[in-house]
């Protein structure tokens, strides 16, 4: 549910992303049908599926464990997402994957990365845009 709330914020920022000459894709481990349903609701960027989790592994994104489940920040993020109008749907894919946002340069090299520490831990969209602007100056990962 926090994932959908974040994608809604990303949608608002998408024109700024493209204005910086960048592409943007959403990636999830869930079903292709579910990705298609979400894209059909008006997301302007591709919603892709990583069925094997290969991208998550390459980026070193973590997994949900008992500490994550007990983290108050997890429940706070769900509460914020619910207040923003997001509602939980069917869980598909590998629900234990934690999220992350990566910025790659035009050659496919990692320029900036936010690895979630808990469920719903997404970076401010402004930080992503700042990383894109900093590519020419050599942006560095936040974590």
């Amino acid at each position: 549910m926090p994932c959908l709330a974040y994608l809604a914020r990303v949608r608002e920022a998408y024109p700024a992303v493209t204005a910086l000459g960048a592409r943007l894709v959403a990636v999830g481990t869930g079903s292709e049908a579910q990705a298609g349903e979400l894209a059909a609701r008006g997301l302007p960027f591709p919603c892709l599926v990583d069925a094997t989790g290969a991208l998550y592994e390459a980026l070193g994104l973590g997994r949900v464990g008992w500490r994550t489940a007990l983290d108050p920040a997890t429940y706070a993020s769900y509460w914020r997402a619910w207040r923003a109008g997001a509602r939980r749907g069917r869980v598909t894919g590998d629900w234990r994957r934690l999220s992350g946002v990566a910025v790659l340069d035009a050659a496919g090299r990692l320029a900036w990365l936010h690895r979630a520490r808990t469920i719903g831990d997404y970076p401010p969209v402004d930080a992503v845009l700042a990383a894109l602007r900093g590519l020419a100056g050599g942006a560095r990962p936040a974590r």
Binding site: C3, L4, Y6, L7, G21, A22, R23, L24, V25, V27, G28, T29, G30, E32, Q34, A35, E37, A39, C47, L48, V49, D50, L55, Y56, A58, L59, G60, L61, G62, R63, G65, W66, R67, T68, R88, G89, T92, G93, R97, L98, S99, G100, V101, A102, V103, L104, A106, A107, G108, R109, L110, A111, L113, R115, A116, R117, T118, I119, V128, L132
Partner: protein, 46 residues
């Protein structure tokens, strides 16, 4: 966070990973090179 792998370091090249579009078509990350790319990896789409 639990069980984090090491993952890429700054400046390292992301491997060419095959993803799937909703229609089942394969999308390779290498095909998206040539412009900066933001990859928003969420937990699931539901």
């Amino acid at each position: 966070m639990d069980g984090s792998a090491r993952g890429l370091a700054p400046g390292e090249e992301l491997p060419d990973i095959a993803l799937r579009a909703p229609d089942g078509a394969e999308v390779r990350l290498a095909a998206l090179r040539g412009r900066p790319l933001v990859a928003v990896c969420i937990r699931y789409y539901g």
